[in-house]
């Protein structure tokens, strides 16, 4: 079955993975730039200047770019003490409320974040450092992460609500259910064993 929502969700998933990977590459590059800066400072007494500032932007941008991926892979931390005792149906209701709360908060940040970003464009503010970075650039990249997060959340919401209407609580659980701590730990170990197998 491939309704428009399903295809939209697939696009969201692929896009979110790509964005998270791009964020990871940003972080890795930041590690590279900072390391070069440290080594140059130590051995040649030359400083690039601004490596710390740039890596701060990398963190801000990289993390907003991974928010959608975190949501779609159900990795947000939830306290599931009561949740575990609920029936599938009530758990699904909680899942929907949880997604809604996440979306509300993300939208509020995106909304007021937009003001911050557009203000930076308007007055052309620059960072107070030797690089004098035009702040509008990192702010825009950062804001795009929130916008993408909200957009993916809306698609996920639509799909989950429609699953709810067709009373497919298992699907709701797979889409937005809380990962049990067992699932979490199993993941951690799967990586470890895969690595061991790859070696032997």
């Amino acid at each position: 079955m491939s309704s428009p929502i399903d295809s939209a969700l697939r696009v969201a998933q692929r896009g979110a993975e790509f964005a998270a990977l791009a964020g990871g590459v940003l972080i890795l590059s930041a590690a590279g730039v900072v390391s070069v800066d440290v080594l140059l400072r130590k051995f040649v007494s030359v400083t690039l200047g601004g490596a710390d500032e740039l890596s701060g932007y990398a963190l801000a941008i990289g993390s907003t770019w991974s928010f959608a991926f975190v949501m779609l892979s159900r990795s947000n931390v939830r306290i599931d003490a009561l949740y575990q005792m609920m029936s599938r149906r009530w758990a699904a209701v909680c899942d929907l409320i949880a997604l809604m709360a996440l979306l509300v908060f993300a939208s509020v940040v995106a909304w007021y974040g937009f003001t911050v970003m557009s203000y930076a464009w308007e007055i052309g503010s620059r960072s107070n450092s030797s690089l004098a970075v035009p702040l509008a650039v990192p702010l825009t990249l950062w804001w795009i992460g929130y916008a993408w997060f909200v957009l993916c959340g809306l698609v996920l919401m639509l799909r989950s609500v429609s699953a709810m209407f067709s009373r497919d609580f298992d699907l709701v659980n797979r889409l937005i259910g809380a990962r049990s701590i067992q699932e979490e730990a199993a993941d951690e170990l799967q990586t470890a064993t895969e690595i061991l197998k790859a070696k032997s």
């Binding site: 998270a20 964020g23 590690a31 890596s55 932007y57 963190l59 306290i79 929130y146």
Partner: protein, 427 residues
């Protein structure tokens, strides 16, 4: 005001709303109810300024370093080398479990990663050599918790950011308690195995030559430790810069062992961003909530209320310990730290506790939370490792080690110098 906030938070978290969203929504509700100015408007500015903080950049770097080390095969060789040296003790390989955890902790900032990495290597040995499985599992779950006490430590960085304390000082303060705790864990094993010799399995004997030639495998972890921790005290790098150097060293090591490939790097980066995004969203929400709480005067009221209880300094200390031990049974540890420290740390500071010392106390309490049921991530990690048996085995096996953690808390209270001596000498 306090009860409204508390009830709202309990309802939100009870409904299993993600911790980040709970804090964000609570902030918005409080702002709506109690603020005279539209404080929610600051959400954009706060989200930006809290997430480009240079100190926090260390966080994804340590997570990435952990992912790289896990894949570079460093743990297996290190474990083998330590086993040669330690398995003549009563309790045999269980001592190598703890020593391997302590050494791996010196390269890794995470307890879960430490337990998973060492556990994967060690557990097959338990059956092969006939160890008491419960105690063996306990050493892995408890030993893993050393990951955040022995520097580097992701949790210490978060504590430092939340309380404005110095990461280099916290790192130094963690070293002696970390080593003591490792010894304490080993003592628990030795006592158990002297009392019930059947607990310890077959002991391995290796010749001195084998022991010495194995030492070579301890070089990579010590090298990483020198890069990510040593460089700070050599005046070469700040904690974040040291973490960046660590990532480069991790890539170098993975290349050296032949583990480096594009697909490996891709998986490592995806794993890193999954954890980073999860933590950063909580941090952004926490900053927003803290901002709202202080602008409506809730923080002051909470602090006043706690101080109004009229507890003495040490009564307060016990209250805090009980509070964290209980909450730690039910909450995931990062959320536990981020939600409670901004409120509790100022109270403790006002009562005259040293904030570096208190940081170590918090870390030890977080370690306890990692191995106390029902929600103790290390217990689950180790349990999942063995594909059979009941979760209770791990819980029971880890229980004696909780005593060692409590003993360490007692020692820290009696002799604050255990934590504070190194930072005072070296800085």
């Amino acid at each position: 005001m306090i009860s409204t906030a508390l009830i709202t938070l309990l309802i939100l978290m009870g409904l299993a709303i993600p911790v980040a969203a709970s804090m964000g929504v609570l902030g918005m509700v409080l702002a709506e109810l109690f603020a005279f100015l539209p404080v929610s408007k600051a959400a954009g500015e706060i989200a930006w300024s809290s997430s480009n903080e240079f100190l926090l950049v260390a966080l994804p770097m340590f997570i990435l370093l952990g992912e790289l080390l896990l894949r570079s095969g460093l743990a297996e060789r290190m474990y083998g080398a330590l086993a040669n040296w330690l398995s003549w003790l009563p309790g045999g390989l269980m001592h190598s479990n703890i020593a391997a955890c302590a050494l791996f902790a010196a390269t890794s900032g995470s307890s879960v990663a430490t337990a998973a990495t060492v556990g994967t290597v060690a557990l097959p040995q338990a059956r092969r050599f006939g160890y008491n499985e419960r105690l063996f599992l306990g050493t892995l779950a408890a030993g893993g918790t050393l990951g955040i006490l022995i520097p580097p430590s992701i949790n210490m960085i978060i504590y430092a950011v939340l309380t404005n304390t110095s990461v280099p000082k916290l790192y130094l303060a963690g070293i002696i308690p970390g080593l003591l705790l490792a010894l304490g864990f080993m003592l628990v094993v030795a006592i158990a195995c002297v009392w019930r010799p059947a607990y310890g399995g077959e002991r391995l004997r290796a010749s001195l030559a084998v022991c010495i030639s194995g030492l070579v495998h301890l070089v990579p972890p010590l090298g990483i430790f020198l890069v990510v921790v040593g460089s700070i005290y050599a005046g070469l790098a700040t904690p974040t810069e040291a973490a960046a150097l660590g990532v480069m060293a991790g890539i170098g090591l993975a290349w050296w062992t032949g583990a480096l490939s594009w697909s490996m790097l891709r998986t490592a980066l995806m794993g890193t961003m999954r954890s980073t995004g999860m933590i950063m969203l909580i941090i952004v929400a926490a900053y927003f909530l803290n901002f709202v709480m202080s602008s409506i005067g809730l923080t002051t009221r909470l602090t006043d209320a706690v101080q109004g209880l009229g507890l003495s300094k040490w009564e307060m200390f016990f209250a805090v310990i009980i509070f964290y031990v209980i909450l730690g049974c039910f909450m995931e540890t990062l959320s536990l730290m981020i939600t409670t420290i901004p409120v509790i740390a100022p109270v403790m500071a006002a009562m005259g506790f040293d904030m570096i010392w208190f940081g170590i106390v918090i870390i030890v309490l977080v370690e306890t939370a990692l191995i106390t049921p029902p929600v103790g991530l290390n217990l689950f990690v180790v349990h999942n490792l063995r594909e059979r048996g009941s979760m209770n085995d791990v819980i029971i096996g880890a229980a004696p080690f909780v005593l060692a953690l409590f003993a360490l808390l007692g020692l820290l209270a009696l002799f604050p110098g255990l934590a504070l001596w190194l930072p005072s000498v070296l800085s």
